[in-house]
Amino acid sequence: MGESITFWVLAVVSVIAALGLVFSRRAVYSALMLGVVMFSLAVLYAVQDAPFLAAVQIIVYTGAVMMLFLFVLMLVGVDSSDSLVETIRGQRFWAVLAGLAFAALLGLGIGNAVLSPPKGLAAANRAGNVPSLAELIFTRHVFAFEVTSALLITAALGAMVLAHRERAEPKQTQKDLSRARFVRFGQLGRNPGPLPGPGTYARHNAIDMPALLPDGSVSPLSVNRVVARYEAAEGTLPPEVERILQEEALSERANGHVARPLGEEDGK
């Protein structure tokens, strides 16, 4: 009685969720609907006296696999839509073929189960649900079990190989970067420390306000070149900043340096 009530409730829920999976416009909703279908399946297993299968269905499929799906979908972005260009040639034909083959396989499997006389739950669970299952997996079906795990490991390995990127040069650690900054300081006299923030010792801390040195003069290091260029075009550049920029340009021309903003990191 309870079993059939559960079945009819879950049947409606899972069919609706399955339809939602196919027809919902957003990938994340589809994934959630798939999660609902998987969860309903797990409850059905539990009602059918297969507690181990139910728990594993939730842990592995609903918990881990679906979560990874969601993970990917969320990283792809909220409102990204599918590209409708088919990149694989003959995709539809092969998809239909695979679908038909799968349907045939499913029909054979179900027909096999329906037509042969059932052993009964008592015979299947004689040594308890978990030990009986363990016995079957590790004796009769051990080859299929191991082959499946080999397949999964191969897939994981393939994913790792595809995602792997060989480094052309060793990764620069913080220490290497720091050392490079000091070398640059020795060669070019470039400031190795962080730049002064705008507005230090000043009355404003806006980005267009250069920092003042303790003697009240403007610190050239803190002049934001982008903002200064914009302000020069607008004609609102403060006179002392303008003076500093001019002096800099003069001295650079005198030294034969290429004009380059002071604060900018030059890439290696």
Binding site: V28, L32, G35, F39, A42, P51, F52, A54, A55, V56, I58, I59, T62, G63, A64, M67, L68, L70, F71, M74, L75, V78, G128, N129, V130, K175, R179, F182, V183, R184, F185, G186, Q187
Partner: protein, 452 residues
Amino acid sequence: MNNPAPNLSDFGHDPLWLSIIKALFIFVFLMVGVLLGVWTERKLISRMQHRYGPNRAGKFGLLQSVADGLKMGLKEDLMPRTVDKVIYFLAPVIIAVPAFLAFSVVPFGPMVSIFGVRTPLQLTDLPVAVLLVLATASIGVYGIVLAGWGSRSPYAILGGLRSSAQVVSYEIAMGLSFVAVFLQAGTLSTSEIVAKQAGGGTWDILGMHIPTPSWYVFSLLPSFLIYAITMLGETNRVPFDLPEGEGELVGGFHTEYSSSLKFAMFMLAEYVNVFTVSAIAITLFLGGWHAPWPISIWDGANTGWWPMLWFFGKLVLAFCFFVWVRASLPRVRYDQLMAFGWKVLIPLNLAWILLAATFRALRLPEVDRGGILALGAVIVIGAFAIWLRFDTTNQRRRERKAAEVEEEFEQLREEPTAGGFPVPPLDLPHYHGVVPAARLHHEAKEVTSGSN
């Protein structure tokens, strides 16, 4: 009364009213537990930080969490305009419900008599009860992830993504740490695991009979240690509270849930999850409801309603452990967390399971000991050879790096301006013609950092 420990066949006979009473008790117990737990945590962590903590509402501030809960219930429930309304609403429900479910398989005590019905002090038990706990935990993650995604906020989605990766990885290590217990106990049902920890033999030394500990925390210590670490990761508690790391993500996955009833659900779920993992630690490793040693000498300690008291005592201690860890440890960095989970906890756990299984196989009565030992020796030697290979490679790499650094410093010492380190000119007046020690004694070498 001669065998008070229930087993699987004792379940499923309760009349409906008794099941309702038990379920209601668990619910009320967890709700009150959360109220008191928040208070305990705030008081305890305050004392660890040399302050008083809440002490205004009620005696010792006991009513503080009641006041906070009321405030959360009465606050305006904001729904930000850009959120995904359905998911935003569902997420707190999804996270809170499974948290309660897991407690249905936690054994509180042995067989007792309630209104004339003999029944175990446990709502239900399954042949796969411990897996049910893992299953509810994995459903609970959905709440966090969906809260993050449905909020449409960068902080929240980062928190949600961090959480999904973290919890899935730590669940693997957690599940592996159960395996040794299953091997030892031969069952996955919580009540039977507790029954298996009932009593070991006695250890006769110098004429005294010292009872050997039968709890799995002693015989399976590595499993317990790994579980204790993963339970911090699984419940997003400090030092693994990255999903809501407030220093970097404001509030993480619940940033957009301003302090309303929905936020209260997250809070509730977090504390209930802490209770659940503590209860599982107690059930699997700390003897369940069995009395600890000095009390267990008394014969009546493990019968009737007394075991519930021992269970609660253990639960309080486990919760205090969480608070203690929170007060002591800083938050780890995310990549370190993942590397620790995958590269340390899981391999260690696998190796320990192999070892435990080998011991178990050796103790079986009809077994070829020589064959097992030979196989074990081959595996150990093989593992040692692999380790040696890696170790010599690493050693060589370290030596090469040290030589490089040494060479660079040698060059800099000879010619300070070459590399550009800011070294003052050596003929400065305040040196008074004294040659610096580094130039005088060539064997007096600088100890450079990072050169090992």
